[in-house]
Amino acid sequence: MSTPLLANAFSLQGVSKTFSYFKLESLTLSLPQGQIMGLVGPNGAGKSTTIRLLMGLAAADGGTIEALGYRIPKQVEEAKRAIAFVSDDMRLFPGATLAWHMRFVASIYPAWDQMYAEQLLKRFNLRPPQSVAKLSRGEHVKALLLLALARRPALLVLDEPTSGLDPVARHELLTELMEIVADDKRSILFSSHNTQDVERICDQIAFIDRGRLVDSRDKEAFLERWRRISVDVPTGVVLPRLADVVDLSLGERVAMLTTDNYLPQMHALLEHGGARVRDVQRMSLEEIFVACVMRSRAQEPS
């Protein structure tokens, strides 16, 4: 029997969670198998809370969560056998060495790949006899990533994985992440505020701000729909009102439009009124993210 083709690596349906100081509202999000999702948001937006709910470390007040087909938190033990999770504030057991941790993790996961683990030791420049208490922050993150990668997880969940890493280690990590999705059954969810990494390797992108999902779609759709249009507006000409204009900054002679649904017909509409389209620019993911968040905050009832 073959597994269904469009299985989800995970899905959250209408998930909400209230802490005394923070509220996550009706979050719906899913990742098809074989893809990488980037969870992008400012500090305190709810990225870590979302990931903790998915990992069963906190129980949602409402909604349903599934990971690799298992109900969370009810079947969290089964799910976690095939999920590896690393967050940047996670630490190993301070009294033991990296070699001990490797044996420890290997004893728990039958899929542990010792050859791959040894390759990663070299690539990440780590020494197994070293006590983890003496590792630097970057080395610690690399050690955690090694332990996560070498267990060959079906779903890898990373909370801010690149934040403590030097550029070489970051490059190595992105390479290893892409190696994972060479297998179309394996998936990755990672949160980051480094939009450059997200823009490069992610298939799906979710923007989150103030406990709400601002937007979520595949990366190409994001990049394709958002444009900045600079327009010359001769005196006496009034710019027509266009749908899907997210932001408009208007000078006396020039205007800059930001749209989240760019269509070539916009040129004709703008020029019909006498304005002249001077330039249409694509936007980087970071620019799109900022625009998305600003719009969402403007719409928020205060």
Binding site: Q35, I36, V181, Q196, R200, I201, K219, L223
Partner: protein
């Protein structure tokens, strides 16, 4: 040119996807960079008609660029008749005898189109633009002879 020793290294790259590079500082979107590099390889005959090219996932791993981006590049190349994807068998350069020269012409058109666009911004149009091109051609010939 200056008289310093020139070291040339000849490498025959049979593993073509290694040579494809995607830059995040390039203003062109990543899918376009991949498309253009593949087209270029086909245009100059580096990739012959019928040759197998890496699968979407293999190229994604090699270039460290998301699967969805490579997929988009392949999809557009397929729609343009440049490559073929055979379900379960792999991806191939289209079996079109004069695909190479056709693509080279397309590449030329793209570059000219960009030039026309820039010229328009400088208000150089029509005959003036053509005259500028002729002048440029004359200068190039002179410097080569």
């Amino acid at each position: 040119m200056a008289d310093r020793p020139v070291h040339t290294v000849h490498t025959v790259n049979t593993d073509m996807h290694i040579a494809i590079q995607v830059s995040q500082t390039d203003p062109r979107p990543m899918y376009l960079q991949i498309k253009e590099q593949l087209r270029h390889r086909i245009a100059v005959g580096e990739l012959k008609p019928g040759a197998e090219i890496p699968s979407i996932r293999a190229l994604a791993v090699a270039t460290r660029v998301s699967v969805i981006t490579i997929k988009r590049a392949y999809l557009e190349l397929e729609l343009e008749g440049v490559i073929l994807t055979r379900q379960g068998r792999g991806c191939f350069v289209a079996d079109n005898a004069n695909l190479g020269s056709h693509l080279q012409l397309q590449e030329l058109d793209q570059q000219l189109a960009a030039a026309v666009h820039t010229a328009a911004l400088l208000d150089i149009k029509g005959e003036a633009l053509v005259e500028r091109l002729r002048e440029l051609e004359r200068r190039l010939h002179k410097s080569q002879s």
